[in-house]
């Protein structure tokens, strides 16, 4: 895998540029680099991860040993996504291989160049008897989902996630669903002007800097107090120009929209007249090249589609509140998101966010980084998915933890066996309470 990405780096960059217009820096950061890092980590840690772990045993079981031994599930299905078509296919693939499984990888057909690149080149590097790449659209997915898998790992939308889980239920196949949701960012008043500039960069980077907002952990919308809104919008506008120039649609650093369907879906979000009226920055599009300019909206109606569905694109609604603490109720009254970002130095506010909201992850004063931490589980909760991976969690996601208890034939404890009587009941009660002294006394006939 390491060789695969090293040998083919330029070709991968080209394929990503073709499918989503990704710049090599973004492509390295979010795709190639992620894969290389995972492969290196697995290589250095897999022996440690594979080793059986000892479990504690109470004395009453003596002599015995307890351990947990990871084993492969068997044959697994990985369904990748189109927005990070390389890393969201290969990262789970690395995990499945390190856990000892055979794998079928189904890359997304919405990123066809990457899909055929993987189909053509993976067999050159990996054993094609145990690792297969199958390309195709909905009909191929349906056929794959009818088969019996030992595990399915799916990255994609909630709608398809339901279909995958329903199909998995037919065979009692465990699943990991990496979905999405509306990941909010909160900004309070506790930051000084210097920090504000950094905050603006991090917000712009997290919205438009990752596949132009087409990322499961991109900032979906922003919550800020009314009195800071216009300064924030100015600062964001300035930062956008700094990153993407005067004409962002021409910028090579901005991804395009993946296809006509999504392009239309995003334009439709703006069609609602009240939503259209709330656009305060951007809004222009290039239909031929499928680019949408970074667009900011201020207070679109809360019941509009742009505020009820995951946006997955370069439109950023800003919702103003009287008091930033209201953001907690705002978020917790909505489906649990994959990520929450909070820019604040108020320790009390941080604690409230952590205890009164639920999300896959929370990041304070930055964005997207949780994806790069191998020691943190990456996954959703509620509608944003279940199961997790990255680091050792990847290995665990594709392993069954088999419990093993080993005993000898000696000694024998007579009270384990029928016929039952009150002595044996007493013995069992004492054994459960780990009352060793009581047990000894009972056995010696000194306890009634």
């Amino acid at each position: 895998m390491i060789e695969f990405v090293q040998d083919n780096e330029e070709r991968i960059f080209q394929a990503l540029d073709q499918d989503v217009g990704k710049h090599p820096v973004e492509a390295y950061r979010d795709e190639v680099g992620v894969v290389a890092k995972s492969a290196k980590l697995s290589l250095s840690c897999v022996e440690k991860w594979m080793a059986p772990r000892k479990g504690d045993l109470p004395l009453v079981f003596f002599p015995a040993s307890a351990q947990v031994m990871p084993e492969p599930f068997g044959v697994v299905l990985i369904m990748g996504s189109w927005n990070f078509p390389i890393s969201l296919s290969l990262d789970p693939l690395i995990a499945a291989i390190s856990a000892g499984n055979a794998v079928v990888l189904k890359p997304s057909e919405l990123s066809p160049t990457c899909s055929s690149f993987l189909a053509e080149n993976i067999p050159k590097y990996l054993d094609s008897k145990s690792i297969k790449v199958i390309e195709g659209g909905i009909d191929v997915c349906e056929q794959l989902l009818q088969q019996k898998w030992d595990k399915i790992f799916f990255t994609g939308s909630q709608r398809v996630g339901r279909i995958v889980m329903t199909a998995a239920a037919q065979h009692l196949t465990p699943v990991t669903l990496e979905l999405g949701g509306k990941s909010p960012a909160i900004m309070d008043s506790s930051s000084n002007p210097t920090n504000m500039k950094v905050i603006a960069k991090r917000i712009v980077g997290a919205k438009w800097g990752s596949c132009s907002g087409q990322a499961c952990i991109a900032i979906d919308y922003l919550l800020v107090e009314e009195r800071f809104a216009s300064d924030l919008i100015d600062l964001l506008a300035k930062t956008i120009k700094q990153f993407y120039g005067q004409n962002p649609i021409e910028s090579k650093s901005l991804c395009k929209i993946v296809n006509k369907n999504n392009f239309k879906r995003l334009l439709d979000l703006l069609k609602d007249p009240l939503v259209e009226a709330s656009v305060v920055y951007g809004g222009s599009v290039d239909e031929e090249k499928m680019y949408i300019e970074p667009t900011i909206l201020l207070n679109p109606p809360l019941d509009s589609q742009i505020m009820t569905e995951e946006i997955f694109g370069p439109l950023l609604p800003i919702i103003t509140l009287d008091d930033i603490y209201e953001s907690i109720d705002f978020i917790s009254s909505r489906p649990k998101p994959l990520a929450i970002y909070a820019f604040t130095r108020d320790e009390k506010f941080k604690k409230q966010i952590l205890s009164r909201t639920s999300s896959g992850s929370v990041t304070f004063n930055d964005t997207l980084l949780q994806f790069l931490c191998d020691s943190l589980p990456f996954g959703g909760v509620g509608q944003s998915g279940f199961g997790r991976y990255h680091g050792k969690y990847s290995f665990d996601t594709f392993s069954h933890e088999k419990a093993i208890l080993q005993r000898g034939f000696f000694p024998e404890l007579e009270p384990r066996y029928p016929p039952w009587n009150s002595f044996k009941l007493h013995f069992i009660k004492l054994a459960y309470a780990f009352n060793y002294i009581g047990l000894i006394l009972l056995l010696l006939g000194l306890k009634k």
Binding site: V25, Y28, R29, G33, K37, G55, D56, L57, P58, F61, A64, A66, G74, D150, Q158, R162, M165, T166, A168, A169, Q170, L172, T194, K201, G205, G209, G245, S251, S253, L354, S358, S359, V362, F364, N365, Q370, L372, C373, D374, S375, P377, F378, V381, G382, Q383, H400, E401, I404, L405, Q406, R407, G408, F409, F410, E412, R416, Y417, P418, P419, W420
Partner: protein, 438 residues
């Protein structure tokens, strides 16, 4: 067992609840990270009839320890236990957040139509409720499941219902837990342990009861003799009268089990037992020798007091027999041969494995208890219980110090170089890149 779960939770909960610090690398420097456990929300626990108290209370204790609200739906096939739980739990537990809902298929349907944050299901599917499954299947819109054979049918329905709301599930199901008996062992001890795991556990009506035995042709006779001797020592000459044996739960199961015994290919293979008393729903401990592998008794989970023994020429052949079926909840091996033990551990997949004993792993809190493949998904007991009902939320703390411009557009080849180095997290690589040397 429930008392122990409570004691353990009370003792360890503070420790379990504490956020776990996570290491961060140079890639995200400066930062700190932790993993915080939080409740999932409102959970549904559906329990089984064979251990109606334990399989309701143990998950309940776990869900409470993890901070959830819950609805418990005890099995209607154990009605006295179900109504006792419904009557007593509200007297001891906060009934705003912990409710018991009694009922059968239609109540279960109604519950499964709701949106839960987790569903914990223990159970099996038995043929006698096949015709009553139709309303359940209709309610969750999965007509194509009607007619599916085998275990875990209700497990499938629960998971499909959960799929509507993307609800994660734990399914504690079952399967055919095999016992492989090698030669050169203390056969009396092995026999007693097999008996207590089989008939001593609700008369074979337990998810981890030994389902069938595989041994070599040479050992089979000795094993049968030993089983007969010890069974008599435990249950007397007239086991149908023994107070130490549970009865069969109801007439549907009684009919199912006698059906297994009466099948033509099997009825002549009984070497011990076989007595029944329909009025009292009792079946004596029954051993069968040499049943064909395509008989009903070898195709489905027995869940009763019938123990088939299969024979092989060499003991290693037993692994293929086990692996030709679906992965069981438990697998047992009695041996003194280290090599055989290793082979067994490496080649037989099961929820849990016990060497030289049966069923005990259930009581070890440091071991996860759950199935794999058709025997289920997810696990619990000990801290695994707490984990089953919590969400592990990743938290990253960052400051504004050290903002690397390499992160931001406009992108350049120079940034690419530095990005490469940063992602490795290696300090020398990063230094070289910063100095423009890579």
């Amino acid at each position: 067992m429930v008392k122990n779960s409570c004691t353990l939770a009370i003792k360890e909960l503070k420790h379990w609840m504490m956020p776990e610090k996570a290491k961060t690398s140079l890639t995200t420097f400066p930062s700190s990270a932790e993993i915080m456990s939080e409740p999932l929300g409102a959970v549904l626990i559906i329990s089984a009839w064979n251990y109606p108290f334990l399989l309701s209370m143990d998950p309940l204790v776990a869900a409470i320890a993890a901070g959830n609200a819950m609805v418990l739906k005890p099995s209607e096939l154990a009605p006295a236990s179900s109504s006792l739980l419904a009557k007593l739990l509200p007297k001891y537990l906060d009934c705003c957040s912990i409710k018991v809902v009694e009922g059968a298929v239609s109540e279960t349907c109604a519950l499964l139509e709701q949106k839960w944050d987790k569903i914990f299901y223990t159970g099996h599917c038995r043929i006698q409720i096949f015709y009553t499954l139709a309303p359940l299947q209709e309610a969750v819109g999965i007509w194509e499941y009607v007619g599916l054979g085998g275990n875990g049918r209700v497990g499938r329905i629960v998971m499909a219902a959960a799929a509507k709301y993307l609800t994660p599930v734990v399914l504690e199901l079952g399967g055919k837990s095999p016992v492989v008996v090698d030669s050169d062992i203390d056969i009396q001890v092995a026999t007693r342990r097999i008996i207590v795991g089989k008939w001593g556990c609700n008369n074979g009506q337990a998810c981890i009861s030994p389902d069938y035995i595989i041994t070599t042709k040479d050992c089979a006779e000795k094993l049968v003799d030993s089983l007969k001797k010890e069974l008599e020592a435990f249950y007397g000459k007239n086991p149908l009268e023994s107070k130490d044996l549970s009865r069969i739960v109801n007439s549907d199961h009684y009919a199912r089990l006698t059906n297994l015994l009466d099948e033509d290919k099997v009825s002549g293979k009984i070497v011990y037992g076989g007595e029944r008393n329909e009025a009292n729903l009792r079946i004596a401990p029954t051993i069968l020798l040499g049943v064909p592998q395509n008989s009903l008794i070898m195709k489905e989970e027995i869940f009763g007091p019938l123990l088939p023994i299969l024979t092989v020429s060499k003991i290693e052949d037993s692994f293929d027999i086990i692996n030709s079926g679906t992965k069981p909840l438990a697998a047992y091996l009695f041996t003194n041969n280290k090599k055989l033990k290793q082979q067994f551990l490496m080649s037989v997949s099961a929820g849990g494995v016990v060497i030289n004993d049966t069923a005990l792993h259930l009581a070890v809190h440091s071991l996860p208890f759950g199935g794999v493949g058709e025997s289920g998904m997810g696990s619990y007991h000990g801290k695994f219980s707490f984990d089953a009902f919590t969400h592990k939320k990743a938290v990253v703390y960052r400051s504004f110090v050290g903002d690397a411009s390499v992160r931001y557009p406009p992108y350049t080849r120079g940034k690419l170089r530095l990005m490469r180095a940063l992602i490795t997290g290696n300090v020398w690589t990063i230094l070289r890149a910063l100095l423009g040397l890579s």
